[in-house]
Amino acid sequence: MTNLRVFTMGAAAVSLSFAALAQEVVPPQPIETPAATAPTGATTGAIVGLLVTVGPDGAVQDASVDVSGGAAFDAAALDAVRRWKFRPALRNGVPFAARVRIPFRFVPEGTAPIPGGLAGTAAAPATAPGPGSPDAGAPTPSAVAGGADAGAPAGPAAGVAGADGGMPAERPTPTAAGQAGDIGEVSVRGRQRKVERGGSDFQIDVGQLAIIPRKNAEDLLNLAPGIFIANEGGEGHAGQVFLRGFNAGTGEAIEFTVNGVPINEVDNPDAHGYADTHFIIPELIRDLQVIEGPFDPHQGDFAIAGSARYELGVRDRGMRAEASFGSYGTRRLLGLWAPKGQREGTFGAFEYQTTDGFGISRAASHATGMAQYEGELGPRGLYRILAGMYATHYRSAGVLRKDQVDSGQLDFYGTEDASQGGDAQRYMASFDLESPVGDGVVTAQTFLIYRSLRIDENFTGFLLDVQRRGQTLHDQRGDAVQKDYWAITAGTRGGYRVHFNWFGRDQAVELGLYGRYDHTVPTLQRVRFGTQTPYLIDQMLQTDIVNVAGYLDAEIKPLPFLTLRGGVRQDVWYYNVVDLCATNGNYQTGQPLNVNCPPYDASGQPQEPTRRQTATGDLFAPKVTALVALPYDLTFSASYGLGGQSLDARYISQEQKAPVVPLRAAEAGLLYRHPFGSVDLSGRVVGYYTHVDQELLPDPNQGRYSAAPGTTRVGVVGAIRATGRFFDEAASITTVNPRFDDTHSLVPYAPLVVGRSDTALFGPLPGNLRLLDHRLIGEAGLGISYIGKRALPFSQFSDPTLQMDASAYLRAGPVRAGVRVTNLTNNQFPLSQFFYASDFHSRPFATLAPAAHFTAAPPRIVLFTIELDLEREN
């Protein structure tokens, strides 16, 4: 008895051909995809290519064999596909018969499948390299035959369109005059699917979970298990990300990219690796890949705790205008243009948001523009041109002393220093292409970024500006720090992934490169309390940092049930750092005034205040994942990897090899995915271990993160996702036990348990309710975040918090209106808590001993939204 498991090439998509010619064509999208049953007694796999005609009613009208895999397999595929149901192809919004090319791959049972979805992923369709190249390599989802869309059957982008990382596009044939009922032919191409890296790889198709209220792109990270985001810097300040008990700070321990363009900022004075994702318009995020560990050779600098890759695309084509208004003077305008007939990657969008903020000193505004064109390159390739601009200005309340709030000196939503805040700008452009060449696929990208920011913060009040020996006598001027930064970043990345047959199975190897150059000017100045007037320079650098890397990434299937993925990566950094104030702090007794950057050293000997220092650093990082197919749709996953972060330029010493902060991680777990009728269910349980030689913890005295001793973490992640025609549910829970290596005490600040549930319900309202001749469509979302207690310094623990965010929308034709509520129950709780010494003159005399501080979590915020889809299809 031979048991075979059946896979399609997925996503339908390898190639689609159907009749069409109109400029605005939407391919048919599978809704129900019963699995094919392999022929009895078959011991080998096979690939069958079918040409399927989908009628205007979505039923299969005709199916024929295009590429034979043998009579028995052909029959099995035909039998299955005739039971499929589709959402019909649309031309200018009108259904028409279309012919689709659908590949079926029959694989002997035991070959490792990747249950693609899991928490946060809607579908894990196969790759779509283009016609004639039916298998781009990645194993397709399990027995969801033709499971191109299994995870998003009811979503707006379900089906073919949902395949792989890129949106298949149509290439209209100019001669196929189109009327409904005609048979046209369209070729569809797509991008390589991201290779999945086992139990810690969360490829999140946002899909209907976009209903749940999220303030910005950063909030979408919550869809990945174990992530908790706090923000003590204000609306325009990067959030503080905690991942599996790892304090990734303002992004410095997570590698962030958007469409491959890096977001982490080198030598940012707030934190080396600071990642501000506020410039991304949330509606443009099509999917998000979060790898919670250093298991992918594509991961580079800053990928210590992991990486987060935003992919942009708009599935709902058309022109759309949206206005929101609500609590605390919040207003948001969104204009989004996704021309029909163009690929998902083609869009333009503008966003403006302003708020008075909850409480004192929390007003903010920002404006963003992003545009991208995705075009076709040669017979099978694609390219994208992306441009974006962003500017923000914001106030920040900063931290509050708990004793002052407890005693009534300060309001819970007050501030210690109302002069805190900042502004930022970002301009970026990127060009990337992806095209099959020979037996593989070439990818290449180049990008250019300009970034500037200013951050004013005051964590310690009047603690640090004390009289120093040799310094002119002065009163305390305050500890507020102004961080100025501007940087120009240019870079490139590329690779060639080639497929070959080995052991009778498809194998793949990729060689790639990455190069990035940053010219930065980070400055740290102390400013007088309550003003923006600098009085002292803490740091003033000019840096040129080059990061060059090469990697090898292989996907080897030595046994039918075993898949090995991974390889090695070599990163090299070159540092050229000019300290423009190398004599900072060299006060000299008898000087009439303090001199910020004096022309003498600490001993009083003359020297120039500038100093150049150069250094190099490197990191060789192995990363590997093993996947073992088990019975009952289970896959065992085990990964090991090493990640690292380059050195902050302020620590560079001449001729010294700049150390790289490494992290070693290992994990193992079980993954599961199985369709139950129209419901796609996936889940995973993963145990993990990480060790980092050096921890980064908040240093309030410097207003930034500083190094602490090494730490080890162990924990467990459980995640589940279920998607059906009218619902989408993702839930996860993560526990962690983080310890310092030397004292074995808990690492502070990170939550020890993080739970998250995202629930979306959507579909036509019962009773065929109509408004203005349009059927009413309802959407409702509920997000629940449970943040367990957090270990805090001095054996303190924060109280667990439970926050609910909800939304509800009604759509009637082109009009959609709704309400979004965050912190539904209006809980008043601290978002972050810190313990350190500060002196905000809360007592008659200076307070120099450690005390509790916190930042306030936002209260309930209600936003009403109305949206007009100017070109919406029914």
Binding site: S745, S795, R843, L848, A849, A851
Partner: protein, 279 residues
């Protein structure tokens, strides 16, 4: 039978590790609030205190009898490290008492200091004691306020004798810019920088006890410096103006007297301020 049991044990161990995340361990240390009591030299009863300012016997210096003494102390900062300088703060402060209080060094009774002290568990080695004029917001008795006024840090009154010479004295210790010098700026004079305080603060209910020993206040003082001035009502006194070089009241001898009283007496790091923890 062994294999299932091992599997069970392994499963239980993993579960413990996972659950431990939310139940076990801490980051170490604790924030604490403790009591603070202050008083004079430990002896059977309050009253005048007679001692030799040379701290020897038979006395080779002045025999001093203190009739009245007061000192304004606070805030107090208990530090792990020695302060980097008299005019600079530094190190790591782990405990603080941020209220001013008045101590009668001649009364051995310990009195509670309002507000006590707060900080973290750890071991301090030094204490910075600010010597500031009595603030309007500070808790002090009316009698002490009347005695000290709003400019003085301390008050001493008594008599000193050496051979046949007797010097009745009384005066306020005022630390202002008149007594400050470039070498001893005001900020340095107004602080006992690094009084020894080897104290281990724990989470147990504790109280810091501070005893002020005035017998060392006058160790370096030569009462003969007062004899050149005219006594008032039979008592020799002084003022900070004695140190103001351009003032009509400038008096080098009485300025020297004040300087020794302050810098070699009241500000002494060893012997004057005695800290202990109870229980």
């Amino acid at each position: 039978m062994t294999a299932p049991r091992d599997r069970l044990l392994r499963t239980m161990a993993l579960a413990v590790v996972a659950l431990c995340a939310s139940t076990c361990g801490s980051t170490g240390g604790a924030l604490i609030k403790i009591g603070l009591r202050a008083g004079g030299l430990s002896r059977p009863a309050a009253g005048p205190l007679t001692f030799c300012n040379a701290q020897d016997a038979p006395c080779t210096g002045w025999t001093v009898t203190l009739q009245t003494a007061r000192i304004v102390l606070g805030p107090l900062y208990f530090n792990v490290d020695p302060p980097p300088g008299e005019s600079t703060r530094g190190g790591l402060v782990i405990m603080q008492a941020t209220e001013q209080f008045v101590v009668d060094p001649l009364d051995p009774a310990l009195k509670d200091v309002p507000g006590g002290a707060d900080g973290q568990t750890d071991t301090s080695h030094y204490c910075e004691i600010d010597l500031l004029p009595l603030q309007a917001t500070s808790t002090a008795s009316a009698a002490d306020r009347q005695l000290l006024g709003n400019a003085a840090t301390a008050y001493v009154a008594g008599s000193a004798s050496k051979g046949s010479t007797a010097v009745p004295f009384a005066g306020l210790v005022v630390i202002n810019t008149s007594v400050a010098t470039p070498q001893q700026p005001l900020i340095a004079l107004q602080r006992v920088s690094g009084a020894l305080a080897n104290l281990t603060f724990t989470e147990a209910m504790q109280t810091v006890e501070l005893r002020v020993d005035p017998t060392h206040w006058l160790d370096a003082v030569d009462f003969a410096d007062l004899l050149g001035s005219t006594p008032v009502s039979g008592t020799y006194t002084w003022s900070p103006d004695n140190c103001a070089q351009n003032s009509a009241s400038f008096d080098a001898a009485r300025c020297r007297f004040q300087f020794h009283l302050l810098t070699d007496g009241i500000k002494l790091s060893v012997g004057v301020y005695q800290f202990s923890l109870t229980p």
